[in-house]
């Protein structure tokens, strides 16, 4: 992805330099205007609105909304969920990408297709799957109930639903990269006497680290922001099973608009920080990857 950005810039410069390929000024202006207008209207304006509404009744109300016990519990639960879901998907993602790119086996295409399942399934369905499997009337519900294990309407259910919807991010970032890199370097390391773990640490990991980080960032953003699937398995118990997105909805429905937007703005800030880190990672990754084609 980072290489593509570099290539794009070079391509644009080449097109601009040549009169034959240069677009008329009005086309350039129109496209730019449409793009920017769309961006401002549908992305920038709502984002600004969130912050304006959040601070409408002053700093005092803003802070009060964030330190209120239910809000603190929602923030903690959101961070906890991300702290469990992201490392799990990091490990799963590497394992799956490794299996797909380094080994040949039957049903490989099937596996690649199934990784995308959480992208194509509606989050509501993702949540309901877990209710059907772990709910009191579900397959394992009675057994879980007898042993006093709570999955649905408790933290484990929320984590499960989040892991499900964020599953593809890491694997999706790694697979194309690892496919492009091939197995040569790993084979060379093994031939030279490296152990499996050494090969992974000294050869594979440095090669994939930026793509991995990129996947983790996207995964984290989705894990903190997920609403639909989590809403189904949460049970909406205040101070216990409400994540930040659910808490925002509750506050809004209780006419506490300033508080709702305060929590929303915190969520938006987390997203902005994530984006900033993502941009940094892209920028950092760009020079380290060699240009795709030699001149």
């Amino acid at each position: 992805m980072a290489t593509a950005a570099v290539g794009l810039r070079a391509g644009a410069a080449r097109f601009e330099a040549n009169t034959a390929t240069r677009d008329p000024v009005w086309v350039k202006g129109l496209v730019l205007f449409l793009g920017l207008a769309f961006f401002s209207l549908f992305l920038l304006l709502p984002l600004i609105a969130v912050f304006v509404e959040a601070f409408r009744r002053g700093w005092g109300v803003y802070i009060a909304a964030l330190v209120e016990p239910d809000a603190v519990s929602a923030i903690k639960l959101t961070l906890l969920t991300a702290a469990i879901a992201v490392p799990l998907n990091l490990v799963f993602g590497i394992a799956v990408a490794w299996a797909i790119t380094k080994f040949d086996f039957r049903g490989k295409q099937m596996l690649i297709t199934f990784i995308d399942l959480p992208f194509s399934v509606s989050p509501v369905v993702a949540g309901l799957i877990y209710v059907l499997v772990f709910g009191a009337q579900g397959w394992f519900g009675p057994w879980l109930g007898e042993h006093g294990i709570k999955v649905i309407f408790a933290v484990p259910g929320i984590v499960l639903a989040t892991v499900f919807v964020t599953f593809p991010f890491v694997a999706r970032e790694l697979i194309p990269l690892m496919q492009a890199q091939g197995r040569d370097e790993e084979e060379a390391a093994l031939v030279l006497g490296a152990s499996g773990w050494q090969m992974f640490r000294k050869v594979t990991l440095p090669n994939i680290k930026w793509a991995l980080l990129y996947g983790v960032i996207l995964c984290n953003a989705r894990a903190m922001g997920e609403f639909g699937a989590v809403s189904v398995v949460s049970g909406h118990i205040r101070g216990l099973t409400n994540t930040m997105p659910l808490h925002v909805e509750i506050l809004y429905n209780e006419y506490q608009f300033a508080a709702a937007f305060a929590v929303a703005s915190l969520l938006a800030t987390l997203a902005l920080v994530t984006l900033a880190i993502k941009t940094y990672v892209e920028w950092k990754a760009a020079p380290s990857t060699p240009p795709a084609e030699a001149p």
Partner: protein, 338 residues
């Protein structure tokens, strides 16, 4: 080097996750979970605080009541699927019946365990209109007029919406030439005018009040008063129709859950606390019609005297009403797909 940092970070994350988990798991006081319907958020906030104070004075124990709110049918579904509610306080008896039928968490005769059909307060259905009533809405038949935009939640998921629907039906039946056929026609006309069908009462309130959609919102009386209080007078008016329905939102302890968690005593006391004058006063303050005659008399001017029919008299009880009107393929399905 980067692997070291990642590893250390991961260990820190994992430990903090464990600590957080432990913090969530251990609780010193008694905790109750009250799974309730949509508009009771403010009511139970006040009621819970009063009960916690009462319980502390009586036993010295701290009790924390956790709340969950949503459309009544959805909430009942969650309890059936394993949401561990010590008490359920829902919009209508049918949804609590479902907890008995599908999960056997409570006995069949749960509604006879507390006075007044286990409904500690009542409410009714009124109309909320824009200030000055520009579309001149006076009664149910104005809702069936072509061009009037009506807001009401979905009867499939919302208890309040079912009361709305049945109140309209009862009005049509009570007309001089009223019959089941004419009532069906009448209710069909109203639902043709419905612009947005939200899943719970509170969602509908925000649709009507915040987003400014619709001419009239068929609403719980308490929800209508609350909307006016929260959003400032001068934007909305309440219209009380000539006939409405006596809504009795019932409460019960969930036996299987309280026995498992050892909270039967405090949960039972929690619901009995409803019969104290203090709690009845809280209900009235939050615009629910109190059962206690003295408290009701005190707030008489707030609660307009309106002719109220009951589910049992007109529809033969909730089981029957649900079966005929709201089950799959029932009358609501027939009129709403048309």
């Amino acid at each position: 080097m980067s692997t070291h940092i990642t590893r250390r970070k991961m260990i820190t994350l994992a430990t903090s996750a464990l600590m957080l988990g432990a913090g969530l798991a251990q609780a010193q006081q008694i905790a109750l979970l009250n799974v309730s319907y949509d508009p009771t958020r403010e009511l139970y906030q006040e009621f819970n605080a009063a009960f916690a104070k009462y319980w502390k004075g009586k036993t010295g124990q701290d009790v924390v009541i956790k709340q969950s709110h949503g459309g009544a049918a959805k909430q009942a579904r969650a309890v059936i699927d394993g949401l561990e509610a010590d008490v359920v306080t829902l919009a209508l008896a049918y949804d609590i019946d479902a907890i008995h039928e599908r999960a056997k968490l409570i006995p069949a005769d749960w509604q006879k365990r507390l006075p007044h059909n286990s409904a500690p307060y009542t409410s009714t259905i009124v109309f909320l209109v824009r200030k000055g009533n520009p579309r001149n809405i006076r009664d149910w038949n104005d809702l069936a007029r072509p061009g009037v935009e009506v807001i009401t939640p979905n009867p499939k998921t919302s208890g309040g919406a079912r009361w709305n629907y049945l109140a309209a039906w009862a009005y049509a039946l009570a007309q001089p030439d009223g019959s089941d056929a004419s009532a069906k026609d009448f209710v069909t006309k109203i639902y043709k005018n419905v612009k947005v069908l939200d899943s719970g009462a509170r969602g509908s309130t925000t649709t009507f009040v915040e987003r400014g959609i619709g001419d009239v919102f068929i609403s719980w009386e308490n929800e209508a008063f609350l909307a006016i209080k929260e959003l400032g007078p001068g934007k909305l008016d309440i219209v009380v129709p000539s006939l409405s329905i006596l809504a009795e939102p019932p409460v019960t302890v969930v036996d299987k859950v309280v026995d498992k968690r050892g909270t039967r005593e405090v949960a039972t006391e929690y619901l009995k606390f409803w019969s104290t004058p203090e709690a009845q006063e809280i209900a009235a303050r939050n615009f629910y019609r109190p059962r206690a005659p003295k408290v009701l008399a005190k707030h008489a001017e707030q609660f307009v005297n309106v002719k109220l029919i009951t589910i049992d008299d007109v529809f033969g009880g909730w089981q029957k009403a649900q079966q005929i009107h709201f089950n799959d393929g029932g009358i609501f399905d027939q009129i709403y797909v048309k």
